[in-house]
């Protein structure tokens, strides 16, 4: 089983060398740990070459949400070896060693400076409740705090550099780049106000940056409250993927003593369904697990579909875990409403026209048996759902129809 094997760890390393057989003694194949301070071209940019098989974004989510068992930890630890730093250095097993790794492994953010935006970002990212975009904002706020610039222009340039570094850490994460863009947008708008005092302006920016972290958690609560009315007694909800926002909605509904039932898709290959059903069962909500293929079979008894989003694009569509498009199509053909719960900082200035328009985010899939060499595997981790299949979006700006999203974006960016 994928989760119980260290093959996930191995995959990463193997792809750095050359494709070899699946099960491999980690100690034999382990590269010499990249020497920390000296330049390893991979470490300069913590997300290594684009041919890398795994999107770091999904790696994080796996860390936060995968079912982690103790011998998995042991294996992962053994696979890493002591002191060696995988480029994006954070394994839940060894917080201490990963902290060390993070510090030594990342040279990004302007070489030689004691403050590294990537450090800060990694620090924030480890909190499981905090979204990635928010972590990026906090990191950027920290950049302002520690900046030695004396004019707005300088500050803007520094921020732009930091933002680019963060974005390049994972080129596939939409909410990350959307969050960075949002923050940059605010910086450029602030400088339009006539602040005579640069320090005052700086303070304001820091304030805002820190406020954003609270906004993230508040956003989830707002969304949870907005979603309450739509969950009526004895309804059946289908969920896909483990979205913390959707979980918040359901948690609040359960605590308001609403009686409802949840159907959870298995969510291969991340097995998000297992984790989600664990959490829901802990709340006392009746849960039923479905394999991904059983969605159409069960769509009859479903009253509504609830999903989160990795990003909301300009057309009003969403980018979410692979399988969302399929579910939305089935729901639409059976006239079931599809509700999306997404915070507003996930609105991105993208306009994908079809599935391949997205930056690819790949995830290795373990089928349990070795795949013959000539067979390709579709490893993309996410898909795009066009707006006509979505009914409503619950955001911290209120309940919106998909057509409102582009309006909001125009208002902001114009």
């Amino acid at each position: 089983m994928w989760l119980r094997s260290a093959s996930f760890v191995l995959d990463k390393r193997l792809q750095q060398q050359e494709p070899s057989s699946f099960f491999h003694d980690p100690r034999d194949s382990a590269q010499p740990p990249p020497p920390s301070p000296s330049v390893d071209p991979m470490d300069q940019n913590p997300d290594p070459n684009p041919n890398h098989g795994i999107s770091a974004y999904y790696q994080t989510r796996a860390e936060h949400h995968a079912v982690v068992s103790s011998d998995w930890l042991a294996q992962a630890q053994a696979a890493i070896g002591r002191g060696a730093a995988p480029p994006s250095g954070c394994w839940p097993s060894a917080a201490a060693s990963s902290a060390v790794a993070a510090r030594t492994g990342s040279v990004g953010g302007g070489g030689g400076k004691p403050f590294s935006v990537i450090d800060e970002f990694n620090y924030w990212r480890k909190k499981p409740d905090l979204a990635e975009a928010v972590a990026a904002i906090m990191a950027l706020a920290a950049v302002i705090r520690s900046s030695e610039a004396t004019t707005m222009m300088e500050l803007e340039i520094e921020l732009k550099k930091a933002s680019d570094t963060l974005k390049s850490w994972d080129t596939t994460s939409i909410s990350l780049s959307a969050g960075c863009d949002l923050f940059m947008r605010y910086v450029t708008r602030t400088s339009a106000l006539e602040y005579e005092d640069f320090d005052a302006a700086k303070l304001r920016l820091i304030e805002r940056g820190e406020k954003f972290g609270e906004i993230s958690l508040k956003a989830r609560r707002t969304i949870a409250m907005l979603g309450q009315d739509f969950i009526f007694d004895s309804c059946t909800i289908l969920v896909h993927g483990f979205s913390r926002v959707v979980f918040e909605v359901l948690k609040l509904a359960a605590s308001n003593r609403k009686l409802f039932r949840v159907l959870c898709t298995e969510g291969r290959p991340d097995r998000t369904g297992l984790r989600f059903s664990n959490e829901l069962a802990a709340l006392g909500v009746p849960v039923k697990l479905l394999i991904d293929s059983a969605v159409a079979y069960s769509m009859d008894e479903v009253d509504m579909v609830f999903v989160g989003a990795d990003g909301v694009v300009e057309s009003g569509g969403i980018i979410n875990m692979m399988g969302t498009y399929q579910i939305a199509l089935v729901a639409h053909s059976m006239n079931k409403p599809v509700y999306v719960a997404a915070e507003s900082y996930k609105f991105a200035r993208l306009y994908p026209l079809d599935q391949k328009d997205l930056a690819p985010a790949l995830r290795p899939i373990d089928f349990g048996v070795p795949i013959p060499s000539g067979v390709e595997v579709e490893t993309s981790a996410r898909d795009y759902t066009p707006p006509q299949y979505l009914t409503l979006l619950f955001t911290d700006l209120g309940v919106l129809t998909p057509s409102v999203v582009s309006d909001e974006l125009i208002q902001l960016y114009l």
């Binding site: 949002l182 605010y186 708008r189 106000l193 006539e194 602040y195 005579e196 005092d197 005052a200 303070l203 304001r204 304030e207 805002r208 406020k211 954003f212 906004i215 009315d229 739509f230 009526f232 507003s344 900082y345 609105f347 009914t391 409503l392 911290d396 700006l397 209120g398 309940v399 919106l400 129809t401 057509s403 409102v404 309006d407 909001e408 974006l409 208002q411 902001l412």
Partner: protein
């Protein structure tokens, strides 16, 4: 205020007993009632807008609870609240510009602190205006300058106190006056909505067209008559609209104006729809997602129209525009009327006898008053502001309503 309270109680009673029929009458009465409430309201020295808002909310809560299905009542209450906020904002903005920047921090109902000297009044007013609009991406991080900025020296504060007090009295009277004027405009809009909608009739009805309508809507009647007066020749199919058979009344009125009319039963709509160029119906309420609450049977007509690709046009005054989203509209926003409309008690008294069969009769009669038409079935909304797409409805709502007023509940702390 016993005078006003008596009026309120009277109106509440009428609403509960369903003595007031139709959204036009309800809207008008509500507006007039709120006007009396406001004119009788005693204004405190500080925070007049807050006091007005509280008073209106208190009355509004009662009115909405009396007849939750009559959405026009809630709409007008929210319109009035929005008017109060707007008038207060514009008067504050002009007052600030008038006083220079020395006004004290009395205006904390909007949470403004005018204590940063470098901020121009224009910027502040702009920021304040943005707080009134629905929260959007650009206002997400926008925060009116707070204590991060150095506060005003107290001496100038004392001077401004005296000045601002006299201004306060002036402003309080002005505020009431402005609000009442705006409400008068609102009442006028409600009265003239039919004319405004009918003006657009000529653009939509062309020569030799066949139009289908359902039941009797006053707005539709005036719409068609206006087109007739402009010498368009067209024919009308009127579906009789069981069980009230108001379609018969409409047919008679149309013939009186010289329009060629055909009366059909509701069941014949599907049969006749292929001969029709356009369907025009009225609505009871338009919801925030573009869905329509309409007299029962119109959902069927909408489906028939979609099946045969016939444009489905809804005409309604803007007082019918409701900022709520319909979750479960078939249940929550429906009125079940008396079964005597359908079946004569005389003939069926033994079937519907609660005395026999152990207290639960075998025959039930259900007579719902309303239908919900989802937004995707509607081609066009014609309101007194013009013709709009269902996906544009959110914009109209943002113009007429404030986000804070969606739940009309008097808060114990202001």
């Amino acid at each position: 205020m016993p005078d006003v309270q008596a009026l309120v109680n009277d109106f509440v009673l009428k609403l509960k007993r369903r003595k007031i029929e139709g959204s036009h009458a309800s809207a008008r009465h509500t507006a007039e009632l709120l006007r009396s409430v406001i004119s009788q309201q005693r204004m405190p020295h500080t925070n007049q807008a807050g006091a007005l808002i509280d008073a209106v909310k208190a009355v509004g809560e009662q009115l909405i609870a009396a007849n939750p299905v009559e959405l026009a009542v809630g709409n007008i209450v929210r319109r009035v609240l929005h008017i109060i906020r707007e008038e207060d904002l514009s008067s504050t903005a002009t007052a600030i510009e008038g006083l220079g920047l020395s006004a004290g921090s009395d205006d904390d109902d909007e949470g403004q602190h005018v204590d940063h000297p470098a901020l121009s009044a224009a910027a502040l007013a702009a920021a304040a205006r943005s707080t009134l609009r629905a929260p959007s991406l650009q206002t997400l991080l926008e925060d009116i300058p707070r204590s991060a900025v150095t506060p005003q020296p107290p001496s100038s504060g004392g001077d401004s106190e005296g000045k601002s007090k006299s201004d306060k009295n002036l402003r309080s009277r002005k505020l009431k006056h402005d609000v009442i004027e705006a409400i008068n405009e609102l009442i006028q809009d409600i009265d003239t909505c039919h004319e405004q909608v009918s003006e657009q009739a000529v653009e939509h009805i062309h020569q030799n067209e066949v139009i289908l309508t359902f039941g009797r809507s006053r707005t539709v009647k005036e719409f068609l008559c206006a087109a007739k007066e402009k010498n368009r020749s067209f024919r009308v199919f009127v579906a009789e609209g069981a069980p009230r058979y108001q379609g018969h009344v409409l047919a008679k009125e149309l013939v009186g104006k010289g329009i060629q009319t055909t009366v059909i039963t509701d069941s014949a709509v599907f049969a006749m729809i292929s001969r029709v160029n356009m369907v025009i119906v009225g609505a009871h309420a338009i919801m925030a997602n573009g869905g329509v609450i309409a007299p029962v049977g119109i959902n069927m007509v909408a489906l028939a129209a979609q099946r045969h690709a016939v444009p489905f046009v809804v005409v309604a005054g803007s007082h019918k525009l409701c900022p709520l989203y319909p979750h479960n509209p078939e249940v929550l926003l429906n009125d079940l009327k008396s079964p005597s409309d359908l079946l004569d008690f005389g003939e069926f008294s033994d079937c519907m006898d609660f005395g026999s069969h152990g207290g639960s009769p075998l025959l039930h009669v259900v007579n719902p008053a309303f239908d919900y038409v989802p937004p995707k079935l509607v081609s066009l909304f014609i309101t007194d502001t013009g013709g709009h797409n269902p996906s544009y409805v959110y914009r109209l709502i943002a113009d007429y309503y404030s986000a804070d007023d969606l739940v009309v509940k008097r808060r114990s702390t202001s």
